[in-house]
Amino acid sequence: MFGTILLLALRSIRRHVLRSFLTILGIVIGVGAVVTMVTLGKATTAAVQQQIAALGTNILQIRPGQGFGRGGGGPRPKDFDPADITAIEQQIAGVLAVAPQAQSTATAIYEGANWSTTINGTTSAYFQVQPWPLASGRLFTPAEEEAGKSVCIIGSTVERNLFRSAPALGRRFRIGEVSCDVIGTLTSRGQAGFGGDQDDVVIMPIKAVQRRFTGSTDIRMILVGVDEAYSTEQVQSALTNLLRERRRIGGSKEDDFNIFDTKQISETLTGTTTLLTRIVAAVAAISLVVGGIGIMNIMLVSVTERTREIGIRLAIGAVAREVLMQFLVESVVLSCLGGIIGLLLAQVAIAIATPLMQVPWTFDLQINLVAFLISGLIGIVFGYFPARRAASLNPIDALRHE
């Protein structure tokens, strides 16, 4: 019996191709929008998490100042000094590695090419704190670090722009006033969600940067790698106490430095993108409901328009339930068809949008299934009322209908 009703519904849809298409347009757009939005939202969240994971987990970032948006007036808080690094290494439990950082910018020149980039002075500890594999070459030796030799490890953006296709390892180039040997090249980390291109960097021993570029022993930032056995909160509060003491900050005064936990940043950003995903998905879901109302409208018009046809079916011997089922199945088949087309369009939209948004392409089976089931459900809910109206027609009146 169901096969017959399905056949009747399919024949009826085939007879009214244009109307059927218009009926499902709303569902196509609704399903397409929901799936696209949710998938892109999830991809963005995943990309943010991936980038933060690439920064390394269990890392504390210490900078002078009071963090974002605060610290208005007053003198600029002083930078850290090498003694702070030693103190942290020696006095805080649960610290795996401490990497000081001093930054500058300069133009790098090699043969005809020049490229303006960031110079990051640090130590080998930098690579212990966070996972950032070398593509070739080696890290600094303790002797190079101690002497502040002008050797460097370059990011892939610098490598590409300065050396073109030539192998960079072992070459000597000029950066600012300094000649520098390339001892290592880094793998690409890609775009950071915040802070631009992480690969556009030249890493040198901190002493070299301090002596040749910044002209002081000041340290702008400290990265602290935390042992997984310790909680970052615990280490963070020990660091706060130590630095307050070393910087002579009295009892009630606020810190003149701040400590970021990458895990916290990760949670905040993930929370934000998840919330945004939910908001856009909710807006898209409203369009799905509007699509359902569209189906109901056109099905109601269709029932009126097909009154005579319904009369014929009833006269021939269709029982009310069969007419109801036929219209209901028509509506469900249409909305599922709309759902499928919407899913396909969503895949196209996602394939186009992901490279533009620089997020990885993903296929989320769950949201596709859910969206498809919802489209079927909409067919049932919004098709029921028109179907019941069709089934309740009186055959004599229906046959007389012009």
């Binding site: 017959t4 014929i312 269709a318 004599i396 046959l399």
Partner: protein, 237 residues
């Protein structure tokens, strides 16, 4: 009276509307129709013949009275039971053909079989046979829009007889056709009545078409005015 009549009406009345404006379309009809008869129902507009046909076709129920079809009291059946009765025993031919638009003749004819739940091959064979009986086997893939009025009515007749019904109800089957086509349709109906023994009940305005029937029932003001029997006008014509 060894065999009871196929259709038996006793004191059938039909009232439309409520008391102050009530209109009595049928005022007490008694009629027996034997199996295999060819009955023409005639009468002026408003004489109650359409109401009568709706009741005979189990599309409507009388306000009072008894309608026995094969011994079953149709007036006591509910909507779906009457639908199942129509599906099994009745075929309908309408003045306006009432074929499904944009649907091939074959699919139109097999529609009643779909509701019966027949298998695909059986449906197709029966529909082709029915189209053959009305002389349109070669037109099975044409849609109503591609067929003339006479051909459309033939498709409608094929749809009505495809289930081998007991009764074929025809409501002014020639009302939309010219005389030549009308006579062709009437000859077809008379032929079906003779060869397959289907009982035909037909409403018509035209005495010329009523001639083909064996029995002619004249309606006037909701009552049967007179019945001409044994006309066998076909033989005379």
């Amino acid at each position: 009276m060894a065999d009871p009549a196929l259709i038996s009406l006793r004191g059938i009345t039909k009232v439309y509307g409520e008391d102050p404006t009530a209109f009595q379309a049928l005022k007490g009809i008694d009629l027996d129709i034997e199996k295999g008869d060819f009955v023409a129902v005639m009468g002026p507009s408003g004489s109650g013949k359409s109401t009568m046909m709706n009741i005979l076709g189990c599309l409507d129920v009388p306000s009072a009275g008894a309608f026995l079809f094969r011994g079953v009291h149709v007036e006591n059946l509910d909507r779906d039971q009457r639908a199942l009765l129509r599906r099994k025993y009745f075929g309908f031919v309408f003045q306006g053909f009432n074929l499904l638009a944009r649907t091939s003749a074959l699919e139109n004819v097999e529609l009643p079989l779909l509701y019966r739940g027949d298998a695909k091959a059986a449906r197709r064979d029966a529909a082709m046979a029915a189209l053959g009986k009305v002389g349109l086997a070669d037109w099975h893939h044409h849609t109503p829009g591609e067929l003339s009025g006479g051909q459309q009515q033939r498709v409608a007749i094929a749809r009505a007889i495809v289930t081998n019904p007991e009764v074929l109800l025809a409501d002014e089957p020639t009302g939309n056709l010219d005389t030549e086509r009308s006579i062709e349709i009437m000859e077809l109906l008379a032929d079906l009545n003779r060869t397959s023994g289907v009982t035909i009940l037909m409403v018509t305005h035209e005495p010329e078409m009523a001639r083909f029937a064996r029995t002619i029932v004249h309606f006037r003001d909701g009552l049967i005015d007179r019945v001409e029997t044994g006309g066998a006008a076909v033989a005379a014509g």
